[in-house]
C-alpha cells in the first residue's frame, strides 16, 4: 500500500485524530463509491463498522447526496455479523439501506493508485473513499513480554479468565484472546469474574468459571433508531424484550426508536451509575434467557 493515500482516500475511525480527520473528509464527500472494510477478525467490536455504515447512510441522506454514493460493506466474515441469526437481521438492514455487502473477502493488499482492494483469491473492490478497520492487535508490551499469541493477545481460560501459561496472571478486555468482543460491556462483565478470581487465587481457593462471554450493545441504525443485542459464547443474539421479560422496554434485534432513546439514557447511566460500580437492575454479568425467544 502507498502510504501517501493514508488520510486522503484511505481512512479509519479507530483513532481519535483519524476520526476527526474523517469527519472533515466526509463533509466534502458528495459522490462515488464509499467502502467500509474490515481487514481481519478479531476486531475490537464487530458491531462498530456496521453501525458506522448505518450512520454514514443516514448522514449522506441528510446532506442530500446519498443517491450519488454507493456504499459497500466488505468483510472477511461470511455475513454481516459473527453469529448467524444476528447476521441475517443485520444483513437485512444493510440491504434495506441499500448497502451492498461483500462477504468472504480476505484482503491481500490495497492498490492505492488504482483505488482498489484486492483479496487473496483475486477478487477486487474499487473505491473512491475507503474506511478500513486495520488489523487489531493487543498491546506491544504483551508482544515484548512473550505473554501473547501472534496478535499479542494473551491465551486465556474462557471462563475463569486466568492466563493459560501463568497461573498468577488474569486477563480481560483488550488483552485477552477469549472469543468475545473487546467492547466495553464485555470488559464490564469480565471484571466481576476477574476480581473475584484474583481474590480467590490469593486466598488459595478454587477459581470460579463463571464468565459466559456475555456481551450486549446498542447499534445505532440512523434516523434516530437503534437496535439492541445481548448474547454470550453459546447463545447468539435472539429476539425478545430487554432487560425485563414482556415489559422490556427495549426490544432485542429489532430496529426501533425506543432503542435509540435507550442508548441516550445509557450514556447518562454509564457516567453516573456504572462508573460508580452500582449495579444496573435487570443486567448481570451472566446473560439471562428471560424475555428471549429461542
Amino acid at each position: 500500500m502507498d502510504d501517501g493515500e493514508w488520510g486522503k482516500s484511505i481512512m479509519t475511525f479507530y483513532e481519535f485524530e483519524a476520526a476527526k480527520a474523517l469527519r472533515e473528509i466526509l463533509k466534502n464527500f458528495n459522490q462515488g463509491i464509499f467502502v467500509v472494510h474490515i481487514s481481519e477478525m478479531p476486531i475490537k467490536c464487530p458491531v462498530a463498522p456496521l453501525e458506522f455504515s448505518f450512520l454514514a447512510d443516514d448522514y449522506f441522506k441528510k446532506r442530500g447526496v446519498r443517491e450519488q454514493i454507493t456504499i459497500k460493506y466488505v468483510t472477511p466474515l461470511d455475513g454481516a455479523f459473527t453469529k448467524p441469526k444476528a447476521s441475517k437481521s443485520l444483513g437485512h438492514l444493510l440491504t434495506e439501506k441499500n448497502i451492498e455487502i461483500i462477504p468472504d473477502f480476505n484482503v491481500e493488499r490495497i492498490d492505492s493508485k488504482a483505488k482498489k482492494l484486492i483479496s487473496y483469491d483475486g477478487k477486487e473492490v474499487g473505491y473512491d473513499l475507503l474506511i478500513t478497520v486495520p488489523v487489531t492487535k493487543g498491546d506491544d508490551v504483551i508482544g515484548r513480554s512473550n505473554l501473547g499469541d501472534e496478535l499479542n493477545f494473551v491465551p486465556t481460560d474462557h471462563h475463569t479468565l486466568q492466563s493459560k501459561a501463568h497461573k498468577n496472571i488474569f486477563v480481560m478486555g483488550d488483552a485477552t484472546d477469549v472469543p468475545a468482543s473487546k467492547a466495553g460491556s464485555v470488559a464490564h462483565f469480565q471484571a466481576d469474574t476477574l476480581v473475584d478470581n484474583i481474590i480467590r487465587y490469593l486466598q488459595g481457593q478454587e477459581l470460579v468459571a463463571n464468565f459466559d462471554g456475555h456481551a450486549n450493545c446498542f447499534i445505532e441504525t440512523g434516523g434516530q433508531k437503534g437496535l439492541v443485542i445481548d448474547f454470550n459464547y453459546e447463545i447468539e443474539p435472539l429476539e425478545g424484550n430487554f432487560p425485563f421479560p414482556v415489559i422490556g422496554p427495549l426490544r432485542l434485534l429489532r430496529e426501533g426508536r425506543l432503542n435509540h432513546v435507550g442508548k441516550l439514557i445509557f450514556r447518562w447511566m454509564y457516567w453516573h451509575i456504572i462508573l460508580r460500580g452500582w449495579p444496573i437492575p435487570g443486567i448481570s454479568n451472566k446473560m439471562s434467557m428471560l424475555g428471549k425467544k429461542k
Binding site: E40, L77, T82, N106, E108, D121, D177
Partner: protein
C-alpha cells in the same frame, strides 16, 4: 443426518460433523467432494495440521495457518477456494471456526 464415507453421520445445519468420533478419512473425502474439492497431499497437510492444533485446544485463524509453515495464505485459497478456513475445518471434521466473536 448425511451419508458420508458410506455411513450415516450427524451434521449440523451448516453441514459440519457434530460428533468428532464419526469422522474418518472417507468422511473427509465426501465432505470435500460436496465442496468441489479433490483431496491431495497438500490438502491433507492442512487438514491434519488443523486436527492436531484442535487437539491441543488451539483456535485456528487464517493468520495462524499462514504463519505455521504448513501453507501460505495464497496457496490456502487455491486449495480451498472461497472460504479456506471454514472449508478446511469442515473437511477436518471440526466446528465452524470462531476466529471471531
Amino acid at each position: 443426518m448425511a451419508n458420508l464415507g458410506g455411513k450415516e453421520v450427524e451434521v449440523n445445519e451448516g453441514g459440519y460433523v457434530m460428533h468428532p468420533e464419526d469422522w474418518d478419512k472417507a468422511v473427509a473425502g465426501d465432505l470435500a467432494k460436496e465442496l468441489g474439492i479433490n483431496l491431495t497431499d497438500a490438502h491433507w497437510k492442512v487438514v491434519d495440521y488443523l486436527r492436531e492444533q484442535h487437539g491441543q485446544g488451539i483456535e485456528m485463524s487464517i493468520r495462524k495457518l499462514g504463519k505455521s509453515g504448513i501453507v501460505d495464505i495464497k496457496t490456502l485459497y487455491e486449495l480451498f477456494p472461497g472460504g479456506p478456513l471454514k472449508y478446511a475445518a469442515k473437511i477436518a471434521g471440526l466446528h465452524r471456526p470462531t476466529s471471531c466473536v
